[in-house]
């Protein structure tokens, strides 16, 4: 470490940024902390946006992560509705959208991702992406008045929104060029079960088909597929992933390559750490750089980054975890799910809607996935990394 840390700036006020602040305080850091957030809302939880917020089951006060009194007690200078626009790591200074320059001894970058958009059509009414409270409330309003939703992109977000909209009574179609939904997350075999789940609930799953363009003038009226077919729609969600929010770091000298590139301790430069969706770090156990866009990682990595900023210097080697809730089904997954792994059912039966699957790569368990088996998966998690022979005993 180079000198005593007295001032910490955290850029990004979602769960990773908030957790970094709380960790610093828990570890006894008593210097100043500034928390910069582009949105005007206090830190909130994003997973319910595509579920309870979208269906209207919850209002947004339900997803606020900490009440005002708790934020006050953290003794943090919150700057919400403010963007960081540039970083000078030599001067150790962050420039904000209001022109102010904030000096730091330690910096945590937790700016997340920005939804990817189609090349055109997003200016039409009825076309949404989904990342923020405002996105979710806009889509919710449109769904209430809508009749037919087309979701472009069958990843976790697209699948969750499809399920929520179907429950709300809309006609729903999901389009994706991949052969099955959630291919990148769970592979082809389990992806087929995801497709079946949606079809059983009345959602039209169109996989293996690309999208050519959005149709309409002021308001969207449909989606033209690569085949020339047009799907009618009065609401469209574009859920085709996101890219790390690193535009403000251009010219900073930090290594940017699909995220802020960090060493095994989440360090990007002297005194600069990154956490959450925006961070690509060297995972010692996996032996590769990874970037994880899941809720659990945002918390765990923020704890690691803040602890290391204070001098712990410990490699961050989590077992990645994600879950998704669609209809009455809960899917939970620990580890990694490489495209070349083979899937074996360890418990239960996919036909009965309850099972536990192991993903085997090079004779070792790379990941475990539970389908409506939330308790069983906890024990199975311990087997990640073990050889198949041991696990099958």
């Amino acid at each position: 470490m180079s000198g005593k840390i007295e001032r910490v700036v955290v850029v990004g006020a979602s769960v990773a940024g908030l957790t970094a602040v709380e960790t610093l305080r828990r570890q006894g850091f008593d210097g100043s902390i500034s928390l910069i957030g582009e949105e005007t809302y206090a830190p909130y939880d994003r997973p319910p946006l595509s579920k309870q917020i979208l269906t209207g089951t919850w209002e947004i006060d339900r997803i606020t992560l900490r009440d005002d009194a708790t934020l006050d007690r953290l003794g943090v200078d919150t700057l919400f509705g403010t963007r960081a626009v540039s970083l000078d790591p030599d001067e150790r200074s962050v420039e904000l959208s209001d022109g102010e320059h904030l000096r730091y001894d330690g910096l945590v970058i937790a700016t997340g991702v920005v939804p990817r958009r189609l090349p055109s059509g997003h200016e039409m009414a009825g076309v949404y992406v989904m990342r923020t409270i405002d996105d979710a409330l806009g889509l919710r309003t449109h769904l209430l008045a809508g009749r037919r939703l087309v979701v472009i992109g069958a990843g976790i977000l697209g699948c969750e929104v499809a399920a929520a909209a179907q429950k709300a009574g809309l006609e729903v179609c999901v389009v994706d060029p991949a052969p099955v939904p959630m291919l990148r997350q769970v592979g082809e075999e389990i992806g087929r079960h995801v497709a079946a789940l949606h079809r059983d609930n009345g959602v039209d799953i169109r996989c293996g088909i690309g999208v050519r363009r959005l149709m309409g003038d002021r308001s969207v009226t449909g989606v033209e597929l690569a085949t020339g077919e047009v799907l009618d729609a009065d609401v469209v969600l574009v859920a085709i992933g996101g890219f790390p929010a690193t535009d403000w770091l251009a010219g900073s000298g930090l290594t940017l390559d699909d995220g802020v590139v960090c060493d095994s301790t989440c360090r990007a430069a002297p005194g600069v750490y990154a956490a959450g969706d925006v961070a690509r770090w060297w995972h010692d156990t996996l032996g590769t750089y990874i970037r994880v866009e899941h809720r659990m990682n945002a918390t765990e990595q923020a704890i690691a980054a803040a602890t290391n900023l204070l001098g712990a210097d410990t490699p961050f080697t989590p077992v990645p975890y994600f879950w998704t809730d669609q209809y009455e089904t809960k899917i939970q997954a620990y580890g990694t799910f490489p495209a070349d792994s083979t899937v074996e059912i360890a418990l239960g039966d996919p036909e009965e809607g309850r099972f536990l699957a192991r993903y085997i790569q090079e004779d070792r368990v790379a990941g475990v996935l539970a389908w409506n088996m939330p308790k069983e998966v906890r024990a199975e998690r311990a087997r990640i990394g073990e050889s198949v022979e041991n696990v099958r005993l």
């Binding site: 957790t19 709380e22 960790t23 828990r26 939880d45 997973p47 319910p48 339900r62 992560l65 809720r295 659990m296 918390t299 765990e300 704890i303 975890y321 879950w323 809730d325 809960k330 939970q332 939330p374 308790k375 998966v377 906890r378």
Partner: protein
């Protein structure tokens, strides 16, 4: 220390059980949290704080 849980928010991740098995468990059928000890003793406090911080649904509230 006093613990409050929000069952409606709980997503059944079981992270709390991994952090503090003496205080939290999960229902068999849906994995939702079961609070075993509303007022845990002092030696468990740090692990309970850890559980609350790690909970991916922010469903655990610790009042101290």
């Amino acid at each position: 220390m006093h613990i409050e849980i929000d069952e409606e928010k709980c997503v059944g991740g079981g992270v709390c059980v991994m952090a503090a098995a003496a205080v939290f468990d999960q229902r068999d059928e849906d994995g939702i949290v079961v609070l075993l000890d509303e007022r845990p003793s002092v030696e468990l406090h740090e692990s309970v704080r850890e559980a609350a911080m790690l909970c991916p649904a922010a469903a655990i509230r610790v009042i101290e």
